[in-house]
Amino acid sequence: MNFIRLYTLIRRQMDSWLRSPINSIVSPWISAGLFIFIFGFVLGGRIDEIGGVSYLLFVFPGILAMNVLSGSFMQAANGLYFQRFMKTIEELLVSPLSYFELMLGFTVGGIIRALVIGSGILVIGLIFGAVTFANPLLFIYYTIVIAAIFSLVGIIIGLWANSFEQLGALNIFVITPLSFLGGMFNTLEMLPPLMQKIAVFNPFFYFIDGMRYAMTGFANSNLLIGNIVLLTLLFGLSGVVWYLFKIGWRIRE
């Protein structure tokens, strides 16, 4: 692996979102701030504690996780799609960047954007008193792994999409619904019995629950199962993305 090549690719990814900071950074900060204020602060004051933590503290990790995963997803998917659309991806294709460097460059680009978004939301959360850290190292681990998984998903969508409609489809039909149904605002027990059984198959449930445990110490699921899901997705998707770059799926055809 060549670090100059990798660093250049990461710089290139960052340059694209730094050109439109309102859209890529400020917008999720404002939307997360509103979620924290309305659901956590205003409504949360009228809801009992869950698992020994206030509703504001309970709901904050879910809001943070949703923004981290959607930020990394959007970065990788949009970044790759627009490079295909504008044909600037040919700069990468003619260069000696390896398939692994391509995979890592786009993934780290997504993680960095997610970390910038997440850091801003943490600051907003501090203002509302919504931030605690039961296990800071675990928090960093969950943040990076979740961002990496969704960067990898974003790469696949960025390669697959042939229109702006397709590019947004996964976000609309999968990411947003599964985040909301993955325990962002509620515990498993608050759901109807059938939904409780379905929820354990929703990987977002483990992302949010892991993040919540790292921040509040309250977990609604078996963390070992959650981590098996997370790491299986991380390594499985890494393998898929590496292979797609190797065969040049949708870019060298």
Binding site: M86, E91, S95, S98, G248, R252
Partner: protein, 239 residues
């Protein structure tokens, strides 16, 4: 040694369109090679397969003995491409475009900076180095792409219609520059619709038609025939 060896190369796109069919081609090191053919003959597909933009579906391509598929990193490090289409980031400046390209080739910051300074002067881009690519004229955009192709000091330079949309003055400047590069030992492959350009610059010429090499030889061989290169070209492409 051959700068480029293509054996039985084929490319079939999804949907079954066969762009190139069992093409064989050799380009000697130090040659200035003209690749001619009508639109859709397979020139760009061949160039894209040499440079890694497109995957070949059959045969083999080697650049200075390095296979472009199995030894892609080594092969690509030896090649520079100036494409037909403007494929640079429209919001980036020429300096950024060159800097990124140098980085993709693994050049250190110091080497990139020095090389960019040389290229800005060589291609008269110094006054435009901080302008966005989209703000540049067609000729200036072409210069940026040429400079980008030269960023890694390639041993094999591939120019796909490099003077399309370029004014006469720049065209002449570019011709001189390319001849100088060739004298320095850089192997150049040029595609162009301007036969005059190919006649002036190239030492060897191949005419591609229907995805195959229809005729290849020394430039002087084409001139010996009645009607010269133009006549040979028209005769082949008429079929």
């Amino acid at each position: 040694m051959n700068a480029l060896t293509i054996k039985n190369f084929s490319k079939e796109y999804r949907g079954g369109t066969k762009a190139v069919d069992e093409l064989n081609l050799e380009v000697k090191e130090g040659d200035f090679f003209g690749l001619l053919g009508p639109n859709g003959a397979g020139k760009s597909t061949t160039i894209h397969s040499i440079t890694g933009i497109v995957n070949p579906t059959g045969g083999s391509i080697e650049v200075f003995g390095k296979n472009v598929v199995s030894e892609y990193r080594e092969a690509r490090a030896l090649v520079g491409l100036s494409p037909q289409e403007f494929n640079a980031d429209i919001f980036a400046t020429p300096v950024q475009i060159l800097d990124w390209m140098g980085g993709y080739y693994g050049m250190s910051k110091k080497d990139r900076k020095e090389r960019i300074e040389v290229l800005l002067d060589q291609f008269n881009l110094r006054d435009h180095k901080k302008k966005m690519f989209r703000m540049l004229s067609g000729g200036l955009k072409r210069r940026v792409l040429l400079a980008r192709a030269m960023m890694n000091s390639p041993k094999l330079l591939i120019l796909d219609e490099p003077t399309a949309g370029v004014d006469v003055e720049l065209r002449r400047e570019l011709w001189q520059h390319l001849q100088d590069l060739n004298k320095e030992g850089v192997t150049i492959i040029l595609t162009s619709h301007y036969l005059e350009e190919v006649e002036k610059l190239c030492k060897t010429i191949a005419i591609i038609s229907d995805g195959k090499v229809a005729k290849q030889g020394d430039k002087h061989d084409f001139f010996k025939e009645p009607g010269g290169l133009e006549s040979a070209y028209l005769e082949i492409t008429k079929k």
